[in-house]
């Protein structure tokens, strides 16, 4: 036994880097939505980058430590994290002792943060991943979010030397006001093409979840009869309903979608989608494919621990 939840937070699930590779049979990738932040938490602890973590949304959990363990919190900036009421920091190794009460309260900005541990969370393995896929009740702890009084067990994990060098600046670079995109396969259905793309202002709808981010605010003018056959989609694919409202596919995105795929979020910005919080405002910025490749290289240079996924 290792930790017992006293409060669950809004939606706390076990995630790793997901199960990419089974999309042809309809299995979504899942995994940490902001995987750069989760990788950072594991890296700081000297853990394998793919180790299971807790993904916390909006409000964090409170748990009682039943056995000594180390932890690290990365991602959205949290109002306050405490151990037995004493404030502690994000992106630092935290030593938790048996009997301690760990509390992470509400996020100040962005949406998701990650708690990594020095040992591995025990959870249900499915297709080489313990990531929780809530709609299909797969992986994680009984395929669902953490519940009150839940106890999470840990197993021994291989440690490696941490190579993480903090840049010393805070907050982390989780700027979500500009989401960079390339043209999607059905881009030509947009009536104004790229001319007015960047002048559209969007907000994040409350109906967003890990499957998709629905938007409010401006609408695109789109020429679509709604009769398209379902087409392949991925996390970061932006579909546009016939009403003109873009939907950005998330970590748990389905594999086929029936709306025109007008844009595709570039790989360097996909993890940021996990940090878009309801009512946040953002715009799309159209870039070229070479620019998208450069952006990924830049992200990897700034965060050398990132693995391809």
């Amino acid at each position: 036994m290792a930790i017992q939840f006293l409060k669950t937070g809004l939606q706390t699930t076990v995630q790793d880097l997901g199960r990419a590779g089974s999309r042809h049979i309809g299995i979504p990738q899942s995994g940490c939505f902001d995987y750069v932040s989760s990788m950072k938490a594991n890296e700081i602890l000297g853990k394998e980058i793919n180790s299971p973590v807790l993904e916390c949304t909006m409000t964090g959990p409170q748990f009682k430590v039943l056995k000594d363990i180390q932890a690290c919190v990365s991602g959205a900036r949290i109002n306050q994290i405490t151990i037995d009421g004493v404030k502690v920091e994000q992106n630092k190794v935290l030593s938790l002792k048996a009997g301690n009460i760990f509390t992470a309260d509400v996020v100040q900005e962005n949406l998701r943060f990650y708690i990594a541990f020095s040992k591995n969370i025990q959870a249900t393995q499915f297709l080489d991943s313990v990531s929780t896929y809530l709609p299909g009740r797969l992986g994680g702890i009984n395929g669902s979010k953490i519940e009150n009084d839940q106890i999470i067990d840990f197993e021994e994990a291989r440690q490696k030397n941490s190579s993480y060098q903090s840049s010393g600046k805070y907050p982390d670079d989780l700027l979500t006001s500009i989401i960079r995109v390339v043209k999607g396969p059905e881009f030509q259905l947009l009536n104004n093409g790229s001319s007015s793309l960047e002048s559209h202002n969007f907000s994040v709808s409350n109906e967003s979840n890990r499957m998709g981010i629905r938007t409010g605010g401006d609408r695109f003018s789109i020429d679509d009869q709604g009769l398209m056959k379902s087409k392949p989609i991925y996390p970061g694919t932006i579909q546009c309903s016939n009403g003109g409202q873009p939907i950005i596919m998330g970590a748990d995105a389905q594999t086929l979608g029936g709306y025109p795929r007008i844009l595709q979020v570039i790989k360097a910005d996909r993890h940021l989608l996990g940090q878009l919080r309801p009512n946040d405002n953002f715009v799309f910025k159209l870039v070229s494919i070479p620019e998208a490749i450069d952006a990924w290289r830049t992200l990897k240079k700034a965060n050398p621990f990132i693995c391809e996924l």
Binding site: S22, I25, I27, P135, G136, S230, K231, T255, L256, Q264
Partner: protein
């Protein structure tokens, strides 16, 4: 010997490309061809994931920049004649009697057809598996008779039971793992066609033909009990 075909490869993003094949002089349907091409690519290329739809194969590379040349040459080594066409029709038992979440009465009102007419039309056709996807193992079957064509639900369900059979536009489909779904449900099959522990044992895949055989509640339960 490799079959000749014209392919069109479109690069979508730094890690995604799509492949379409000219099927004009082919007896093979797109849905079947793309499924087999997707499996071929998966077994030939590392670090990719694929999605086959009725009209294309999409490839996403986990590494950047992606190895577009490697993928192109994998496509070239794909042998169309390796596709074995099956004429057998798989019979799928279906119970149309009121299950907890059935929409068949609403569909009946919408279409101005009796429930029995809907059942008779739905169970008399032979369908082909057109695509696998959307949610885990979901199979798109077509074509649905236009007399029972209805739109998707206005408000999708968050939880559809395993085995539920839905209809929407010119497709009918089986929810193999449950999960969210926007199609009106008219019946349920007691058989699980999706073995999650073995993705190669998919019983339903593009190219396979099926028909629905109506069963009653008692038979539904006895098939379920056998498992």
């Amino acid at each position: 010997m490799k079959s000749d075909f014209n392919k069109k490869v479109s690069v979508i993003s730094e890690d995604i490309l799509e492949i379409k094949i000219d099927l004009e002089n082919s007896t093979i349907k797109g849905s079947e061809l793309y499924w087999h091409l997707a499996e071929h690519l998966l077994s030939n290329q590392n670090d990719i994931e694929v999605i086959a739809s009725e009209e294309m194969v999409s490839v996403r590379s986990k590494t950047i920049p992606m190895d577009a040349n490697g993928i192109e040459s994998s496509i070239s080594s794909f042998d169309l004649s390796s596709i074995i066409q099956v004429d057998e029709v798989l019979e799928i038992p279906i119970c149309y009697e009121q299950i907890s979440i059935s929409d068949i009465k609403e569909v009946s009102k919408q279409l101005k057809l009796t429930v029995n007419e809907i059942i008779s039309i739905h169970s008399s056709a032979v369908y082909e598996v057109k695509a696998i996807g959307f949610t885990p193992g979901f199979s798109y079957l077509g074509d649905l008779d236009e007399r029972i064509s209805v739109p998707r639900l206005i408000k999708p369900r968050t939880d559809t039971p395993v085995g539920a059979v839905g209809i929407a536009n010119n497709r009918t489909g089986i929810y193999c793992l449950g999960g969210p779904g926007g199609w009106p449900i008219i019946g349920i099959t007691p058989i699980n066609y999706f073995n999650l522990n073995d993705s190669h044992s998919l019983k339903l895949k593009p190219g396979i033909k099926i028909n629905f055989k109506e069963i009653g509640k008692d038979e539904f339960r006895s098939i379920q009990d056998e498992k």
